[in-house]
Subunit: 223 residues, 2 copies
């Protein structure tokens, strides 16, 4: 198909498609004449993946480029590719993220204590994960941030959160095993990971509102 | 205390503190002479709250201003203040968010179907929430995005996610009831909501890696 039809089918404007090609997110179309290129279903699928990561996941163009390079890595085990993609989809991690920021060069006592909490949690859950991976670092950054704002007690909820995260991950994996062909596996997991975060955050808000109506409706603030 | 001490105690540079005052996030200090202002513990606490929302929550300055105006609303019920703050902390909602974007003016069939899914989910869970609130809209936006990328089956996991979100919300509320004085209630919930999202996303990644090691270690991709 021509770029105009690709645009119509995906709802992505032609200049935006050209921008993604220039940025290396989308492979160029196959030239059919000096100034005409042809695009296929692989382009359409890739374009939808890019939009999901951008719109729902809120990932930057640079982060998307890294996720796609993991998706496209040839001949790796699925587990390794998923791990590489997951590392790049950790919110707040990487340049600009400050969850676990040591850029000021000083040893950070809160962060070191939080890392120890995370190591203990991983051991307690029996998780087979590297306790220095980006997700573990992001978790330590969040725990340290709580400590800095005087809410260190909130780390009490870590085990309840971890148990819920295990349930969610089981549902994720069960869906993938039941519904997804191997060809689509990595793309599906990438989309499910990023969109799933947004889904869970929204559901947690709704569950808060429901619980808060029962607990706090009659208590007033600033009286 | 002077602005220099406030900076040392919070780790926020003096020009950044002045920027927050100009942007209306932080009240100005009390003038003790024509060019000297004095800051108190309320400033220190507010500054830590701003940093947590920025660094861990990734909120924009405009979003933080809205959250703080809900926190400072006088004489409201705690439930109402929490609801107002929660509405402003929904990821992807508001200007720039595209989770549920209808700006192109066309009726959006995927979004309408997703809203119906969300209404049914809320009824099924028996949640006492408005099905047009920002969190419900964000959830519908995420479900519609899955549909657009051909992953509509992933909505099967909604109930498992909702059950996990209820467990997490129960842990959140139990912590707040046990540990937090009424004075700190709204600030604690604001921090816990935003930091909790980052914590849960990181824990879900770790649980994915653990589950994926068992399920997918021996399956190769792109062979």
């Amino acid at each position: 198909m021509r770029i105009g039809e690709l645009s119509r089918r995906t709802g992505v404007p032609v200049p935006t498609i050209k921008y993604y090609v220039r940025e290396g997110l989308l492979p160029a179309g196959e030239l059919t004449s000096p100034n005409q290129a042809s695009y296929g279903v692989a382009h359409e699928r890739r374009l939808r993946l890019i939009r999901a990561l951008l719109d729902v996941g809120g990932l930057s163009v640079a982060a998307i480029r890294e996720v796609l390079s993991a998706v496209d890595a040839p001949g790796e085990s699925v587990h390794k590719v998923l791990g590489a993609a997951a590392d790049r989809m950790v919110p707040g991690y990487g340049p600009g993220g400050t969850g676990a920021d040591e850029s000021e060069g000083e040893p950070d006592a809160e962060l070191e204590a939080a890392r120890e909490d995370v190591r203990e949690l991983i051991a307690r859950r029996g998780w087979d994960v590297d306790d220095r991976c980006p997700a573990a670092e992001a978790l330590a950054g969040a725990v340290a941030a709580l400590d800095r704002v005087g809410q260190s007690g909130y780390a009490e909820v870590l085990d309840a959160f971890a148990e819920a995260a295990e349930k969610v991950a089981q549902a994720d994996i069960a869906y993938v095993k039941r519904r997804v062909a191997l060809d689509d596996l990595v793309e599906s997991v990438v989309i499910g990971t990023v969109v799933g975060d947004a889904m869970f955050a929204a559901l947690r808000r709704l569950a808060h509102v429901d619980a808060s109506a029962r607990e706090f409706a009659h208590i007033r603030t600033h009286d």
